[in-house]
């Protein structure tokens, strides 16, 4: 369960969270919050498609309110989660929920999130809630990835070309960032790829800005450690 990380006492006495379910409430919030991290412009509309146990029991677990709260950037302790629909309205965020109870070959707590920003650009993210409030992002815009928010993370969308990864790591070493894990994901050779860099220490936004200046990089996102 905790292969890459030592178990902290606060993993056991914790997380501090708005109930009722670590997987269906806190974990759902974290998926949405990670997804919202991958959109830079203000978010206008979100469509959630719920699968498996999420689709069956989301209302009784407040999964819907937690997902909206995650898009709003709340943490799992935030008492506004219960009233997140109201706060979304105030923030000009619209949302809809769909359920797919037929699809069986998915993790039991899976959600597809389709985000539309104010420039009408769309981002599609698939996330799963793996228990104990922990979340993983499994797909961005059709590319399969693995992202947990357990570390300070930079997600970089770039062209799949020779030398791009080298220039990214060069910038990281310039900023003396100690990389814990680095992973590269791509759909087809030469097409879009995602590099995910996880670090032990906090990463400054200037690092991301510098990476975005690279010619083959489309976008880079700083994902906060959750």
């Amino acid at each position: 369960m905790y292969s890459s990380k030592e178990i902290s006492v606060f993993d056991i006495i914790g997380p501090n969270m708005i109930g009722p379910s670590s997987s269906h409430t806190a974990g759902a919030l974290r998926i949405a919050r990670l997804a919202a991290n991958m959109v830079k412009k203000p978010i206008k509309h979100v469509t959630f498609i719920l699968y498996g146990s999420f689709a069956m029991t989301y209302k009784g677990h407040g999964t819907d309110r937690a997902l909206v709260a995650g898009i709003l950037g709340y943490d799992t302790e935030d008492k506004r989660i219960k009233e997140s629909f109201r706060y979304a309205k105030e923030a000009g965020l619209s949302y809809e929920f769909q359920t797919d109870r037929e699809k069986k070959d998915v993790h039991p707590n899976t959600v597809d999130i389709f985000i539309t920003d104010e420039a009408n650009e769309e981002t599609a993210v698939t996330g799963i809630s793996v228990g104990g409030g922990r979340a993983e992002i499994k797909k961005i815009d059709g590319v399969e990835i693995d992202l947990s928010g357990d570390y300070h993370t930079v997600v970089i969308k770039h062209r799949d070309l020779t030398g791009v990864v080298a220039s990214i790591t060069h910038i990281l070493s310039e900023f003396s960032i100690n990389i814990a894990f680095m992973k590269l994901y791509r759909e087809n050779k030469g097409a879009v790829a995602y590099s995910i860099i996880e670090a032990d220490d906090a990463i400054e936004s200037s690092v991301v800005e510098k990476i975005e200046e690279l010619p083959s990089v489309y976008q880079a996102f700083l994902i906060e450690k959750l």
Binding site: V9, G19, A26, T57, K79
Partner: protein
């Protein structure tokens, strides 16, 4: 200060002449980038949330998301303070009302500490707060006892599971009960060895408990399972404090719990397809399958 088994932790306690709580706090300073004060402060915050959650349902007006529970903590408290003779004594009655209250707060989207899970989040606050009020322990003592509870929960997580979907309710409420039992034993002056005996009894007594949430919700029978977790913790602490020992050591009991959990059919591991969840009256309340 690293340990992966109860046996190693017990050796550390003896070598350093320190209680479990202190060893667990030292371990956290080593694996995190936080200092002792910061770690203590963070745990103190968790304790504050627990106390608020335990009393949250006494204010009334909580509505659970699934509508299956609500008002139980107030009913228990009203009866306890009415002067009627209690069936389980003031201490246990109070602990049960607090524990069940936390589940009301949890199911109405209130703030709780998953300890170790949301479904078992009433056991530790209920046990701790009743013990504190009854015997006058300071908040500092209670916060340190949370590290003792954390040590037991860590060992179970590392060597077995605390997830109902994997091991049934014994892994959730059973683990919470073992954590609380060890912590209470330390608070009341028991040795580290006695703490492990208390935790072992708690696991053994709830062995095989299934996870069968009606409608798939963290409401019933979860709420009353938390009550049994509390009373079991207190009973096991009392047994251990009296110098009574278990024939099976803690590490073996954890392994037994894990294997029993793996042996439970899927219907009895949080899927809401068996146990109380599948009783005709429960199905009538739920309607998910229709």
């Amino acid at each position: 200060m690293e340990f992966k088994t109860g046996k190693t932790l017990l050796q550390l306690c003896r070598e350093k002449n320190l209680p479990i709580s202190e060893i667990m706090l030292l371990r956290e300073t080593e694996i995190s980038q936080m200092g002792r004060e910061e770690i203590y402060h963070r745990m103190s915050h968790s304790w504050d949330i627990m106390k608020d959650a335990a009393k949250g349902a006494l204010k009334g007006d909580l509505k659970s998301m699934g509508g299956l529970i609500g008002g139980e903590s107030l009913k228990l408290t009203s009866r306890r303070v009415s002067g009627e003779p209690t069936a389980c004594g003031q201490l246990v009655s109070k602990a049960v009302s607090y524990a069940m209250g936390v589940l009301e707060v949890n199911s109405s989207m209130g703030l709780i500490v998953a300890a170790p899970t949301a479904g078992s989040s009433g056991v530790i606050p209920g046990t701790f707060l009743a013990i504190q009020e009854e015997y006058g322990f300071t908040d500092k003592q209670m916060v340190m006892a949370l590290f003792t509870a954390g040590a037991i929960g860590y060992l179970i997580t590392y060597n077995a599971t605390i997830a109902g979907a994997e091991g049934g309710c014994q892994a959730e409420v059973g683990s919470a009960s073992a954590m609380a039992a060890a912590a209470v034993t330390e608070l009341l002056g028991g040795s580290a060895e006695a703490c492990f005996h208390a935790a072992t009894s708690a696991i053994s007594n709830l062995l095989g408990l299934v996870c069968d949430p009606i409608g798939g919700l963290v409401e019933a029978p979860c709420q009353q399972r938390n009550a049994i977790g509390v009373s079991n913790a207190m009973i096991c602490a009392e047994i251990a404090l009296s110098g009574i020992r278990n024939l099976v050591p803690f590490d073996e009991a954890v392994d037994v719990m894990y294997r029993v959990g793996k042996g439970l059919p899927g219907e009895l591991r949080e899927t809401a397809l068996g146990g109380m969840a599948a009783a005709p009256s429960a199905c009538a309340l739920c309607g998910l399958c229709n």
